[in-house]
């Protein structure tokens, strides 16, 4: 178990190095010169002298390998440089905006679990019933609705027509309702189908028949045994779809004027704020990897058989 953990942790390092490399390569390949982008964002008229000075400051006049090593060194210390626009460290900008984004993400995850666990479970137990068809419809909708459009439709229905929830901003619990629904529908679609499929798979197992012959209550078999195992693929799904959640927050923050990091990222794209773009992508990759690691560990806790499998494979 401990060795498995160490192995998983070590596997993270090359992926993060690759993430940094990819961004590094893209910045060098893109037609935009960071020094020019900086001067444009800072509203300084570019002369050859200032450009050369900035290039030297950014280390652009050094060999590529040296630049890459420097970049890695800095990022490992969480130094992503200063934003070209606000001139404050990217890390500080992240720290001030991240809580809003994380709140939104967490509330959507909670909402999607609260909805999809009972829905997927019931859809599997009552296969081909009304609830199963409803869950199928919901999952098709969730997979096909453009999130930004869903956001506006919800605003139209619940803010403009019914005047129940605020249109935008952040503060009270009411502010959370529409963005969380918008963000979680896609997740609900996935998790419901995942759970339904894995419950159906579990029901085929011998232990279910064994439990029934022993006269254990159906409810106990379902909740204590089937659901406990069947939920495992759903957790993997939770980790795998974190990317969807992350990009979802970018769009939802834009729709509801949510003051999170996603909006800042979009602004950075328009301003060619290279350190912020690089910081966001690298951090998103790290977050993605770390969360998947956590999901694996939780799974290990729920279903210890996995660790034996994992060790046998590695």
């Amino acid at each position: 178990m401990f060795i498995y953990l160490i192995k998983r942790l070590l596997a993270v390092v090359p992926i993060i190095l690759f993430a940094i490399f990819l961004m590094f390569a893209l910045i060098r390949l893109s037609p935009v010169d960071p020094a020019e982008a900086y001067l444009a964002a800072a509203n300084i008229h570019p002369t050859d002298e200032i450009l050369a000075e900035k290039r030297h400051e950014f280390g652009l006049d050094q060999p590529l390998l040296v630049q890459y090593v420097q970049t890695v060194k800095k990022i490992v210390q969480l130094d992503f440089g200063n934003s070209y626009v606000t001139n404050t460290p990217v890390w500080q900008e992240v720290a001030t905006r991240m809580p809003a984004t994380i709140q939104l993400a967490v509330s959507s995850i909670i909402l999607s679990i609260v909805v999809s666990v009972p829905l997927g479970f019931l859809a599997a137990i009552y296969k081909n019933s009304l609830i199963d068809h409803l869950s199928r419809l919901l999952s098709y909708l969730g997979a096909s609705i453009p999130q930004f459009w869903l956001g506006y439709v919800l605003i139209f229905l619940f803010s403009v027509k019914l005047d129940m929830f605020p249109v935008e901003g952040r503060g009270t619990w009411q502010h959370f309702v529409l963005p969380s629904i918008t963000l979680s529908l896609a997740l609900i679609a996935i998790y419901t189908r995942l759970l339904r499929a894995s419950v159906l798979e579990e029901l085929e197992n011998v232990y279910v028949i064994y439990g029934r012959t022993r006269g254990i209550k159906e409810k106990t078999i379902m909740v204590k045994h089937v659901l406990r195992i069947a939920i495992s693929p759903m957790l993997t799904g939770l980790g795998m779809n974190l990317g969807k959640l992350l990009t979802g927050t970018i769009i939802v923050e834009q729709v509801f004027s949510w003051p999170g990091f996603g909006r800042f990222f979009i602004e950075a794209i328009f301003n060619r704020d290279i350190p912020v773009i690089q910081g966001y992508v690298v951090l998103a990759a790290c977050l993605f990897i770390v969360c998947n690691l956590i999901v694996d560990l939780v799974q290990l806790y729920i279903d210890p058989r996995i660790s034996r499998k994992g060790m046998a494979e590695s």
């Binding site: 893209l26 453009p146 459009w149």
Partner: protein
């Protein structure tokens, strides 16, 4: 037993209906210049935000442009570019996957590690990062989506090549003197086609969503080109007075994407491909 027969016929209908809807959409996108009643970018402020009439069946937008024409032309942009992204990323993925699968060794290792690396990113985050560094614009979006998408094809095709390479029918073909090219054409491609069709159909849906999302964010198609995501972005300002301006284009996206998803799923059922969500 009965239910499985029912399911089969149901999925057949789902397949036929979704395919029919998509054919209609493709026809619309090809025929847009002939069937659209007006020029989609013709501004006429005198009739701005007018309600539906015989002349303008779905009314006009804030610049007096015909909504119906814009929606029809929007199909062109969405389906056209999604197809382009599909074709290009499939082509490149096919090439890389075949090379990795057939050559093996360190080439395989290098290519696949690269794919793994790209897959380690949340998809759209990387797309946004690339667009961010290349700058906003339709072609940048298309390039970014291609750069991310081909990896998935490459990985799938490489996996199939590796597993199939060892099988007896390939060995038999080789022994009977078929060249590698012929083996690829006659034996490998027919076998990888079904999963590619399933994956391609689903990817088309995603590509359309991504293009519209990026246009909505202002990073993709620039005005005045009619595109559904950009139309929602423009229409949202009139959410109180004329909500249909943003509702129609969204319905179009929903309709097309749901058709692609249903088609993909019924195809995968048909070919007996197990797919993880």
């Amino acid at each position: 037993m009965i239910s499985s027969v029912q399911m089969a016929s149901k999925s057949k209908w789902a397949l036929i209906i979704s395919a029919a809807i998509l054919i209609v959409f493709f026809l619309v996108s090809i025929l847009a210049p002939w069937i659209a009643p007006h020029d989609p970018i013709q501004v006429n402020l005198a009739i701005k935000l007018s309600s539906p009439s015989w002349e303008y069946p779905l009314g006009t937008d804030h610049l007096g442009r015909c909504n119906l024409s814009r929606l029809l032309y929007g199909a062109r942009v969405s389906l056209g570019f999604a197809s382009l992204i599909f074709a290009a990323s499939l082509g490149f993925g096919l090439l890389v996957g075949m090379i990795a699968g057939f050559k093996g060794g360190w080439i395989d290792l290098l290519l696949m590690r690269f794919c793994d690396g790209v897959m380690a990113f949340p998809n759209l985050v990387l797309v946004l990062g690339i667009v961010g560094l290349l700058g906003p614009g339709l072609w940048q979006v298309v390039i970014a989506l291609m750069m991310v998408q081909w990896v998935y094809y490459a990985r799938m095709i490489r996996g199939m090549v590796v597993s199939m390479k060892e099988q007896n029918f390939i060995a038999a073909a080789r022994i009977s003197g078929s060249s590698t090219g012929k083996i690829i054409r006659r034996h490998l491609l027919p076998n990888v086609l079904p999963p590619i069709m399933v994956m391609g159909t689903l990817e088309m849906g995603w590509a359309i969503m991504d293009i519209s999302a990026l246009s909505f964010l202002g990073l993709g198609i620039q005005p005045p080109t009619p595109e559904w995501g950009a139309m929602i972005q423009e229409g949202k300002a009139f959410i109180r007075s004329q909500p249909e301006l943003m509702i129609y284009p969204g319905l179009m996206i929903l309709f097309v994407v749901i058709s692609f998803n249903v088609l993909g799923e019924s195809l995968s059922e048909r070919f007996g491909i197990k797919r993880r969500y």
